[in-house]
């Protein structure tokens, strides 16, 4: 047997074994390889940092050259800023997004959505427990119906009490997110507009926001793949939605 044909030997065949026994040089190499491999196997058990993924994602955020990113980011900053509202707001946006797909162009009452029912598509409907958890924790301050406006926007309505309304207004101003203010005797609204893509991105960000669920004791009911990833068929639907413009209307709840 040729020395050069030797490599690491796990289940040493007879002839290799015989060669090793009579060739000190190969035997020595064999031993060295074994010890080297053992040492590396320890090294490979190195603990992976828990924050590895998040650290990478944070580093990448500044790189994303997507114009809308800043807006979505700002939204998310707000979501982090106020956990309970954040969960509620992000949740209803997602629910609303699903709603639009299910039932456009008819306006839909969100309370209906929160009732368990047979899913109309492969997108998962909320279970009763999930719906109750959301309802309880949010105190159901937001009930956003959604509809398609005449000028083609998907409209999401967020009805807020005075404090929440003021928070949003302050936030939009602070982050310099352009908004329109409509103030009449009957109604008080803040309106922002963007693309459906932003909502999907918001959904991705939501995954991070959902880390708050432990504190809030909420189940994770919106999975990334529900909207962003999934079967080919679903993705087509998503692409359609991404191209859609949306309008979020913050309504001051009338007393």
């Amino acid at each position: 047997m040729d020395c050069r044909s030797l490599r690491h030997i796990q289940d040493t065949p007879k002839e290799i074994k015989e060669h090793l026994e009579q060739c000190p040089s190969c035997y020595e190499d064999f031993q060295w390889s074994n010890h080297t491999r053992e040492a590396f196997s320890e090294l490979e058990r190195t603990e992976i940092p828990n924050n590895l993924h998040q650290t990478i994602m944070t580093a990448l955020e500044s790189e994303m050259p997507i114009a809308r990113k800043s807006e979505v980011k700002s939204w998310f900053s707000f979501l982090q800023w106020k956990p309970v509202l954040s969960f509620a707001a992000a949740s209803v946006l997602i629910v609303a997004l699903a709603t639009m797909h299910y039932s456009r162009p008819e306006p839909v009452q969100t309370m209906e959505l929160l009732q368990p029912k047979e899913p109309e598509t492969s997108m998962r409907a909320l279970t009763k427990e999930e719906a109750e958890a959301v309802t309880d924790s949010m105190n159901m301050m937001l009930v956003p119906p959604a509809a398609v406006s005449e000028d083609g926007f998907l409209e999401i309505f967020l009805e807020l009490d005075a404090e929440e309304f003021a928070s949003w207004q302050e936030f939009l101003g602070e982050k310099e997110i352009p908004y329109q203010r409509i103030e009449t005797d009957d109604e008080n609204q803040l309106i922002i507009e963007g693309t459906g893509n932003d909502l999907v991105e918001l959904n991705l960000e939501l995954k991070n926001a959902l880390k708050l669920q432990d504190e809030l004791n909420l189940p994770e009911f919106v999975a990334e793949e529900d909207i962003a990833v999934g079967t080919r068929e679903e993705e087509q639907v998503v692409v359609m939605k991404l191209q859609q413009s949306y309008r979020v209307i913050f309504l001051l709840k009338q007393k």
Binding site: Y27, T36, L43, P49, V229
Partner: protein
């Protein structure tokens, strides 16, 4: 092409099309591998984390540069290595007490001062067995020597595969491997007295007069 490679290529395509979530899925698929690769080369956890970030930043910027001339795994490995070695070069440059060359042809002409994340701990050497000493010795090797040993001895890769991953000639792989082994043995032999038992064992088994 394996199922995994197909899946990865699909993710790459989707990431290039800016599909939401696609690039993050790529990160999920490679982050662990990238971190371990970085750690293996630099030997510092914090540096490895920093290098890993850089790897994915570079991947994000250069994904369109993947021409499918090799597998994505190979392409990614090279990219990750380049980032890690750039980082290490900078570290060496910043530290005037060290000198280092990555050029195998010049290897004999420069002082080889490997990255040494931990001083040689006498107490460990005294107490621990060969396995631990081997680990310590691996850390005292130059990063590129450690890498080639890892690919050959741990991952059981052929010279050809290693040459492709390292993007170098077959001869370079062989000579680097040879140097790595020589260096490793040299480091271990510095503590020869600790291994008399092992030496005896080797000599008896192999009848070698030149054991360790």
């Amino acid at each position: 092409m394996g199922e995994n490679e197909e899946h990865i290529l699909r993710l790459v395509n989707e990431a290039l099309e800016q599909r939401p979530g696609a690039f993050e899925s790529l990160i999920h698929a490679y982050e662990r591998k990238a971190y371990l690769h970085a750690y293996r080369l630099c030997g510092h956890r914090e540096d490895a984390l920093e290098i890993t970030q850089e790897i994915f930043l570079k991947l994000y910027r250069n994904l369109s540069g993947f021409r499918r001339e090799s597998s994505f795994n190979t392409w990614f490995y090279r990219l990750a290595s380049n980032v890690a070695y750039d980082y290490l070069r900078k570290r060496y440059r910043d530290d005037k007490n060290r000198s280092f060359s990555w050029d195998d042809d010049q290897e004999d002409r420069v002082e080889l001062e490997p990255m040494d994340p931990t001083p040689w701990p006498e107490e460990i050497v005294e107490k621990e067995d060969l396995k631990n000493l081997m680990q310590q010795a691996l850390w005292k090797l130059r990063p590129d020597h450690r890498e080639v040993l890892f690919l050959y001895d741990f991952e059981n890769r052929s010279y050809e595969e290693i040459a492709e991953l390292l993007d170098c000639q077959l001869g370079t792989v062989k000579s680097r491997l040879h140097r790595a082994r020589t260096e490793l043995r040299k480091i271990i032999l510095e503590r020869r007295e600790l291994f008399e038992g092992y030496l005896r064992h080797t000599n008896q088994k192999g009848g070698s007069s030149h054991g360790l």
